[in-house]
């Protein structure tokens, strides 16, 4: 058994790596620009250990062959990475040109001017071929991440995940419920399933990270946490309607929902306790793994349901950025451009890194791996996805939101007063 796994592992690795290595440089040299203009220069890169890094690292020699630029790469485990980068930035000792970033750090990094503005480079025909790089190919949410917090273009997305609806086909069939496509249908289905006693209608986050799926519901009802001028919008009538919906939905979840976070909602779904799930698409491959899942083959997946103002799931992206102190920004940009190009993100998608570009969801061979049902659902959801407006103090804000939402889910107050209290507490920060 063990050997069998090792052998399949080797075969899989062999095929994946050979598929990646098979690509030739012509997909890059056909760009209308001079890749060789910085021949002999050096670009320093710092990456966190991450599936994206694992897949792109073996491809870096291709970039060196393409451009003649030397890449000096350094890796750090994620925890160390997330503390070292801001600490070195603060101390002024950070000396890498290109590095991975997360959207939550953006307000601080941009306010301190630690990140380079990439817009002039994207618009510079000597280093970018717009018809080849296709910036608008990125999902809208991914383009919002680039300028997150109303700042300059500094974060280019490398991964993408968003909320999708995962449901138990067998339970829905048995109760004669069609797959919910609107929020009202979703709530009706969840209530019906819970009342039937076959399973709990839905599993959703009610713990510390309640804000993550929460934004999807608020946005689909036309609400948001902060408006485009960063004023408090959490107690607008639309936001309250969204919050009210979420409260009602969470009341159909298993008991103890106010302590549910990523692990708990996964467990509830994997063990068959809950019939629906409306959170990150990352869960889907796990549900097909019979070593951890009791519902293999029984789950379907659909796009995020539509609310009164459309289907606007929340989404998450890892990004890469350039250091403002980089000496040769154009050379560093060549690396960034290569790493985030349509061809590269398509190849990485085939290796399991689902990308933030529309085209990366349409590459040949992807549907054989993941199935059209999942691809369509995830692509549709990502196409309409939103991201939160992150400001300094973001996590303190959403923690107040968390406490008020929990009070509402437990029935201690209604959604309207919970959101008004949230807004009042936010205004005092």
């Amino acid at each position: 058994m063990f050997f069998k796994k090792i052998i399949t592992g080797f075969i899989a690795t062999f095929f994946i790596s050979s598929a990646i290595n098979a690509a030739d440089l012509s997909n890059y040299t056909n760009a209308n620009m001079d890749w060789k203009q910085f021949d002999g220069e050096t670009v320093t890169v710092l990456l966190s250990k991450h599936p994206w890094q694992e897949q792109i690292e073996p491809l870096i020699p291709e970039f060196e062959e393409l451009t003649g630029i030397n890449v000096k790469l350094k890796l750090l485990p994620e925890n160390q990475y997330l503390t070292k980068v801001p600490a070195d930035m603060e101390a002024g000792t950070f000396k890498f040109d290109v590095f991975m970033t997360q959207l939550y750090e953006a307000p601080k990094f941009c306010a301190e001017n630690w990140l380079a503005d990439l817009e002039p480079l994207i618009n510079d025909p000597s280093v970018t071929d717009p018809n080849w790089y296709k910036y608008n190919d990125f999902f809208e949410g991914a383009r919002d991440v680039a300028v997150i917090g109303n700042t300059y273009l500094s974060h280019i997305a490398i991964t993408a995940e968003s909320q999708v609806l995962v449901y138990r086909k067998d339970i829905l069939d048995e109760l004669g419920i069609s797959v919910p496509s609107t929020m009202d249908e979703l709530l009706a289905a969840a209530t019906k399933i819970t009342e039937s006693g076959k399973a709990y209608g839905i599993t959703t986050r009610g713990g510390p990270a309640i804000w993550w799926p929460g934004l999807g519901y608020l946005a689909s009802y036309g609400g948001e946490y902060l408006d485009s001028d960063l004023n408090i919008a959490i107690n607008s009538s639309e936001s309250i309607a969204g919050a009210d919906f979420y409260v009602k939905l969470a009341q159909q979840a298993p008991p103890g929902v106010t302590n549910f976070d990523w692990d708990e909602i996964n467990t509830a779904m994997l063990s068959g306790q809950a019939a629906m799930f409306l959170d990150s698409s990352v869960i889907y491959p796990r549900l097909q793994d019979d070593s951890i899942s009791e519902v293999v083959g029984k789950v379907g997946v659909a796009p995020f349901p539509t609310g009164p103002k459309g289907a606007k799931p929340n989404s998450h992206y890892w990004t890469v950025s350039m250091n403002e102190a980089t000496e040769n920004k154009k050379a560093a940009w060549l690396f960034l451009q290569w790493a985030t190009s349509p061809d590269m993100q398509g190849r990485l998608a085939l290796a399991g890194i689902l990308g933030p570009r529309t085209s990366s969801w349409e590459v040949d061979g992807l549907s054989d791996q993941l199935g059209d049902e999942f691809l369509d659902a995830a692509k549709t959801s990502l196409g309409g996805a939103v991201i939160p407006r992150v400001t300094p103090g973001f996590f303190e804000r959403v923690d107040i939101f968390r406490a008020e939402m929990q009070e509402a889910i437990l029935g201690n107050k209604d959604a309207a007063s919970a959101m008004n209290d949230t807004a009042e507490a936010w205004s005092k920060l």
């Binding site: 009610g206 103890g256 106010t258 302590n259 306790q273 996590f395 923690d399 437990l410």
Partner: protein
């Protein structure tokens, strides 16, 4: 002769330096952070803004209430329970060492591990507590996921974890009381319960007081079990002053509020331990 008087002082120098560096300086710095205000109208940059905003805040008053609730019930119940168990252990004739090991095992488990275990047991869906209740035909409870009961169950966990500490100290104390005192008491026809109340416990007064102080200080700064089981939730139902100060300081980067809460905790602790210290002093005289 002068050398002789200065030399002892010189010997204390390392201690003084360490105290200054590790205790006095951070303490003064805490006060600076809490009360510093550049825009102050006074001659010195001092203001009570943080203090005022904190004491008028409903959430902070709840934090204080949660802290007092947890500290009072956890300390008193585990203390009484500790005396009771120590007394029982002292009375029984066989298997003392086995019972002692069983009773002090909660103290030996790492707090985070035991808290995680409790968290799993409290789970309304899979937890063993609800499974037992349902087996006997009762409805399951919400335990720590309901705002009305969460703090009570956190207190129960704290009592479970720290009763062995009281038990151990008091049991050791009971062991030090000479057998002849007990024997003469029983010859005079006093039953063993009265002997405990009127003879043993008064003899152990100082020990009991110290146990109480340590227990109080531990309950007052209880952190790990709350952090693991509820993270201060649901709502803010289990958010104590310590949990709040952790969040404001290390999550939201607001050192001034953390410092102010720290000062509250310090003053509160000093008041309570001073009282006990004076008591012990009186006994010695």
């Amino acid at each position: 002769m002068k050398d002789k008087t200065y030399f002892p002082l010189l010997l204390t120098l390392p201690v003084v330096i360490f105290l200054l560096a590790l205790l006095i300086y951070p303490l003064l710095y805490t006060f600076t952070i809490a009360f510093y205000d550049e825009t102050s109208e006074f001659y010195i940059p001092f203001s009570l803004n943080v203090f005022n905003s904190l004491v008028t805040e409903e959430r902070f008053l709840k934090n204080v209430y949660h802290t007092i609730f947890l500290t009072f019930f956890s300390t008193s119940i585990s203390f009484v329970l500790g005396i009771f168990l120590a007394y029982c252990l002292d009375q029984i004739k066989f298997g003392k060492s086995i019972f002692l090991v069983i009773l002090i095992s909660p103290l030996a488990i790492m707090p985070v591990v035991s808290a995680l275990t409790w968290r799993t047991m409290f789970n309304p869906l899979y937890g063993i507590l609800n499974s037992i209740l349902k087996y006997f035909g009762f409805d399951g409870l919400e335990w720590v996921t309901d705002t009305s009961s969460a703090l009570t169950w956190i207190t129960v966990v704290d009592i479970w974890q720290w009763t062995p500490f009281c038990l151990l100290l008091i049991y050791a104390g009971l062991k030090t009381i000479p057998v002849d005192i007990k024997e003469s008491a029983s010859l005079d026809g006093i039953n063993s319960f009265k002997e405990l109340i009127y003879i043993s416990l008064p003899i152990l007064f100082n020990l009991l007081l110290i146990t109480l102080i340590f227990r109080f200080m531990e309950a007052f700064k209880a952190f790990d079990s709350i952090m693991v089981i509820t993270q201060g939730g649901p709502g803010n139902a289990t958010e104590t002053m310590v949990i709040r100060s952790y969040y404001t300081g290390f999550r939201w980067y607001k050192p001034e509020i953390t410092s102010m809460i720290g000062i509250f905790l310090l003053i509160f602790t000093i008041i309570c331990t001073r009282w006990a210290g004076t008591k012990i002093g009186e006994q010695e005289n």
